[in-house]
Structures are given as structure tokens and as C-alpha cells.
């Protein structure tokens, strides 16, 4: 969202049209409330590796702690300082500086994403380390940070965030057009959001492909699981449909394109694609969850391209306000990118099991031995309760802001 808001503010400076200022101001309201909710709930991650994954922390601290600290130093400070200006400083700083603050928040968030993906990618494709005295020690910073999967995964996740923001904002704009409220505002907003959504969704197709090729090369079990591919073969087919059956180690009712998998994964129809049977049973990830998550995610990705392309086509024909059917679909698709993101993470994390650090440390060896199960249960219940309440409050507030509309901003009464 922050990048798209940055674009709106830029449009205001370029076109000198007050409507863009209003658009930016409206979305900043919704953005900031979402941002602080994210800050409040995200803090626990910084502690969780220590509280719940003590053995893991001891083993990887040499490498894994660095990106987390760098994230706090480079990104968290930047975001949190400039979000303060976005919330409190509109009348205290010049318009240009306010614009710059949005840029800093957007930049900070993206940087934060980079560091956390560096950390997580190291768990997927560890590099630049050696094992000394029973722990992983850093030997090559660049190889550890920019390991095989860092870049494809970073661009894949950041683009996913941009798509999520674009459809979220497009959905709210569609709501206004359906209700015939703030039509001028919503039209302009929708056009920019749909353009962004289409551009990013198309790019995401290419990025997803890049990421999948990297997985094929570096984590063959994961590829085999998400494709339901059991037997090592050349001319492996790309599944269009199928139901994997782990007990009998086959995928039933499989319909596929012969050679398609080899081509997509290795640019060669005749490439050999390793099947799941190649790997010992105790080193295979679970099948169902990654398999279905992956296919649903890909389907959603295609749907996003289609949805935004149709929208822009309707725009060209100048009928967008009349297309109630389309606008309704857009409204109800608002949260689907969030679903796609979660599915993607399920593929990434469940597909890596049984390892916490791929082929280096097992998840079963990583948890805190001295924390009892009932303590963990208590903490899960506690956080679930509080986070649910916070989710409820967030929905309530965003809904209220949308109903109030861009004309009646809940101004912070500034005391200065």
C-alpha cells in the first residue's frame, strides 16, 4: 500500500489536482492503522526464536541473528520514525517532506522484507557457513545473505505484497462505485490500483517461474511434493489435475502435459525430474498441504491477472461505473491475495519439512527443551485471543473509515 500511496502523492505534485491529495490522505489513514496493527502484533517474532526455538537459536545464532538485528537497525527505525510523521506531522512538515516520509516508510518496509527473507532463505538454502563445535558459523557473509533462494524469493514476496495492497484498495474503490459514492475519487483510485495490480500480477508470473526453477534446482523434494511427482523420470508431465495418494505413492486421476514439468523446471522437455520416491521416507515433506496450497496459489495468481486485465479493458470502454457485476466480483476478491500469500508460505515452510534448516537441522531438534507443552499451549491461547480481538478492532476501524469516506477524515486533533 505504501508504494501505491507514494504514487498517488506523486500524481498530486505532477497534475496539481487536489483529488489525488485527497486520495493519498484517505489511504494513508487506512494504511497507518494497518501498519500499527502490524507493528503491535509483529513484535513477538523477535522474541519467539529464543522463547520457543532455543536449540535452533543456539545452533544458528551466528548467522541468523545478524539479519534480524540489521532489520531492526536499518528498517524498523526508519519505518517507525517516519510513520510517526505520517500520523502526527501533516501540518508540521512541508508537503514535499510528507511525501518523502511516505517514501521512507515504503522503503523501510521493503528493506525490512529483504532482511527477513534473507534470514528465511538461509533456512531454505543454507550457504556461506561451516559447522564448528556443533553450531553453524558464518564464513562468507555475501553467500549466506544472497544464497540461492534469496533474490527469487524476495522479489516474489514483495510483488505479492504489492498485489495484495493493490487489490485491497481496488476492492474498497469498487465498493464506492457500487454505492455511487465519491465516484470521481473512486474512479481515479481504481484506475491506478488496477493498473498496478495488472502490472504486478503479470510480473509475478515470471517471478514465480524463476522461484520455481530455483526450487527445482536446490530443493528437489519440494518440487516433487508440490507437483505430486513420485517417480524420477524424463519427460515428466506437468499436472493440470490430480489427487496425490501418499500411501500408494502415486497421484490418481492425473491429467498433465507430457514433458511440461521438465520444460518449466529446467527449460528442457527431456530433463530428468527427481520423484519423491528418490528420497528416504523420513526426509520427505508432507504431501497434501504443499500440493494443494501450491495449486490453489497458482490458480489465484492466474485469476488476479484475468481480473485486473478485464477491469482495465472495461475502463477503456468507459463503462466501469455501470459494470456492477464486475465491481461486485472485485469487492469480494479483495482479500484473496492475502489467501494466496498464506498458501505460498505454507508451500515454502511445510515443503521444507522435516528440516528447519534444509538438510542441516531437523525441526524436531530445534525447539526449547525446557519449555513445557502446557506453557506453549497457554501462550498460544493467550495470543490467539488477543490477536483475534485486534483483528476485530482493525476490521471495525477500516470499515468505519470506508463508510465515513474520504470527505470526513477522522482528523487527529493536533494540539500544537
Amino acid at each position: 500500500m505504501s508504494w501505491i500511496i507514494f504514487i498517488f502523492q506523486g500524481l498530486y505534485f505532477k497534475k496539481k489536482d487536489e483529488i489525488y491529495k485527497k486520495i493519498a490522505q484517505f489511504w494513508i489513514k487506512i494504511f497507518t492503522i494497518s501498519f500499527v496493527t502490524g507493528v503491535a502484533t509483529g513484535i513477538i517474532l523477535e522474541f519467539e526464536f529464543g522463547t520457543n526455538w532455543a536449540e535452533y537459536s543456539r545452533f544458528v545464532g551466528d548467522i541468523f541473528g545478524a539479519p534480524l538485528t540489521a532489520e531492526a537497525l536499518f528498517a524498523f527505525f526508519l519505518e517507525s520514525t517516519f510513520i510517526g510523521i505520517l500520523i502526527w506531522g501533516r501540518k508540521r512538515v512541508s508537503e514535499k517532506f510528507y511525501w518523502f516520509s511516505t517514501l521512507m516508510v515504503a522503503f523501510g518496509s521493503s528493506l525490512s522484507g529483504l532482511w527477513i527473507i534473507i534470514a528465511n532463505s538461509w533456512m531454505q538454502t543454507p550457504a556461506g557457513f561451516e559447522i564448528v563445535n556443533g553450531r553453524a558459523e558464518l564464513v562468507d557473509f555475501y553467500r549466506a545473505a544472497l544464497n540461492y533462494s534469496t533474490l527469487p524469493r524476495y522479489f516474489h514476496t514483495i510483488t505479492a505484497c504489492l498485489i495484495t495492497g493493490a487489490f485491497f484498495m481496488a476492492g474498497i474503490s469498487a465498493y464506492y462505485l457500487l454505492k455511487k459514492r465519491h465516484v470521481e475519487f473512486a474512479r481515479k483510485s481504481l484506475y491506478v490500483c488496477l493498473s498496478a495490480a495488472l502490472a504486478f500480477s503479470v510480473i509475478q508470473g515470471a517471478l514465480g517461474h524463476w522461484h520455481a526453477q530455483q526450487v527445482a534446482k536446490t530443493q528437489p523434494e519440494k518440487l516433487a511434493v508440490i507437483e505430486g511427482h513420485w517417480d524420477t523420470s524424463t519427460q515428466a508431465s506437468l499436472l493440470i489435475f490430480g489427487i496425490p495418494d501418499p500411501e500408494n505413492e502415486i497421484t490418481r486421476y492425473a491429467v498433465g502435459i507430457p514433458g511440461g514439468l521438465g520444460f518449466l523446471a529446467f527449460n528442457d522437455f527431456n530433463a530428468e525430474v527427481k520423484g519423491l520416491k528418490e528420497f528416504p521416507l523420513e526426509e520427505r515433506p508432507p504431501v497434501f498441504l504443499p500440493f494443494y496450497s501450491f495449486h490453489l496459489m497458482v490458480a489465484l495468481g492466474g485469476y488476479f491477472i484475468l481480473l485486473s486485465a478485464v477491469g482495465l479493458f472495461l475502463f477503456k470502454r468507459k463503462e466501469i461505473t455501470e459494470q456492477t457485476g464486475y465491481l461486485k466480483i472485485l469487492l469480494f476478491s479483495m482479500a484473496l491475495p492475502l489467501l494466496a500469500n498464506e498458501l505460498g508460505w505454507i508451500v515454502a515452510e511445510v515443503g521444507r519439512q522435516p528440516w528447519i534448516v534444509y538438510r542441516v537441522m531437523r525441526t524436531a531438534e530445534a525447539f526449547s527443551a525446557n519449555v513445557s507443552p502446557d506453557q506453549i499451549l497457554a501462550s498460544i491461547i493467550g495470543f490467539t485471543l488477543i490477536f483475534s480481538v485486534i483483528l476485530g478492532l482493525w476490521i471495525f476501524l477500516v470499515r468505519r473509515m470506508v463508510l465515513d469516506g474520504p470527505d470526513k477524515l477522522h482528523e487527529v486533533k493536533e494540539a500544537w
Binding site: 532455543a54 543456539r58 541473528g65 538485528t69 527505525f77 519449555v371 487527529v412
Partner: protein, 338 residues
Amino acid sequence: MLTYSVLQIIWFVILGTVLTGYVILGGFDLGIGNLHLFLARTNEEKSGMYKMIGPFWDSNQVWLLTTVGVIFAAFARVYATVFSGFYLLVIVFLLFIVLRSIAIELHHQLVNEKWRLLWDRIFGISSLFISFLLGLASGNIIRGVPLDAKTNYIGTFADLFSPYTLLFGVFVLLALTMHGATFVYARSGSCMQKRVRNVYRRLFPVTFIVFLGLVIWTFMGIPRASANYGQVSIWWVFPVLTVLLLVWSLRVFKSRNDWLPFLNSAFLAVSILWIFAGTLYPNIVPNSVNPANSLTCFNASSSEFALAVMLVITLLALPVVLFYTGFVYRKFSSKVFK
């Protein structure tokens, strides 16, 4: 060149420094949360106290995250031992941190009478608990905790509460409240200034006695604590500095510069924190069962190469952070009440 042990000492100092950053910056907004429970009389005053910390509290809290990050990156064994060992304490602490963040931000979003009352209570009570729990945890570390051969915590949750650690909690609670008072003094206009100065003056003797008791208890009760103070050493700077600052604090409100009390209080926070760091060094987590198997900055640190890389990252980032933090504080340094 920097040798491995010099790097380890540098990282002990960096850890202390970022923690000091949190105590000074995060500390004053916690203190304002505590004060808010009884100092503010009208709705305007209540809202005013949120406004004082509005643009700052989030980046202040990042100092806490940075501290935790530094512990993880430089002393992963400490990170693993402390956070898994103090599990329930950490979870409760985090729940209050989450609640408090939400209360501060929603206070100006959900503004009717009932919501405000709820946010005020959450803000105040969670600030109280966070201040107290910070002290309780510090008390446990300074006293030492029972660890097994693999440096896993073997005490119970109840073991974390002892007269000494409870007193430590009370001290930190009082000290942060006074620290918050100096910030309120700097940013409120005349109507609140007098009252907050009186609060500071009334708390001063109580806090001082608690502090004195704590110092005596620490040095009499924990033999290891006086190791660094047994001879003439650099550590003596901090007790001397503390005494000087305490003398200064008696007259600091007479100045026409409203920011001096805060400055005095911030320096006091630094010097008191380092007095206690001096009771630990080179330990970070002393082992009360087998002192030889304590976690120190030498045996718990990351590898030499990792420490060097992290040092470069920190030296690149910190000046930039301090620059724009300073900038925002200057932008928002004016009085809240006219």
C-alpha cells in the same frame, strides 16, 4: 587489528548501549504511561500525555527490538537461555507490549467516553507491568539463575519472584516513572509542570532509599558483584558519576531550561545501568548452580568473523538512525499545553 576478545568486549558494550537507548527513550514513554494513571485530571490532559509520546513511542520501542536482536546476533546462547528460561515472563511481557501499542494508537481512533476509559486503563496498567517486569528480569539476571550443564534454565516460574528481584522490579518502576515525569515537565506548559515537578520531588526520596537498599543488598549479598569494584578500575566512573548526577538533580528544576531535568535523568539512567553492568561483567547470565558454567561475553558470543561483520553493519546504521531520530525529536519538541 581487533582481536577476538576485544570484539567480544566491544559487543558487551554495544549490548549495554542499545539497552541504555531503550531505557532512556522507551523508558520515558513507559514512565508517562505510569504517570498517566494519576497525574492527568481532565480529558485534555489525558490526551495531551498521549500526544507527548505520539510520534516517538514506536521508534522508542525499536530500541527494545534492537537490544533483543543484538543479543541474538552477538550472544545467541544468552538469547536462547534467557528467553526460553523466562518463558512465561516473556509471554506476559509481550502481551502487555501488544496491548499497550494498540491502546496508544487506538486512543485517537476510537474516541468516545467508554473506549477512552478502556484505552487509558490499558495504557497505564500495561506500562506499569512492563516497567516492573523489566526490573524483575534484570534482578534475576544480576542475582544469577540456575542453569544446567547445557545452560538451560532449570528453575521454575515461581523462582523468578524473590524479595531481591521484586525489589528490583519496584525500583525500575519508580525510576522510570520519575524519568517519565522529567519528559512531561519538558513538554507540558505551566498548568501541568508544577504538578509533575511535585510528583518527581515526592518520589525522589522513596526511589532513592529503594536504590540505596538495592545497591547494599547487591554488594553485600552477591559476592561476585564486587569483583570489578574491588580494585581501582574504569567501573568506578559510574558510581562517582551517579553521585554527581544525584547532587545535580536536587537543583535541576531551578534552571530555566525545561529540558535539563530530562537530560539529568537520562544520564542517571546511563550511569545506574552501567553500575549494574559492572556487577556482571564479563558475565551476561551468571549461573547460580555452577558459577564456572556461566554465560559470559567470551563463551557465549558468535564467531569472530560474525562479530566483525555485525560491527561494520552497526557502525554504518547507528549514526544514520541517531541523525533522523534527533531530527524528529526536534520537530516535535514544543509544548503540548499552552
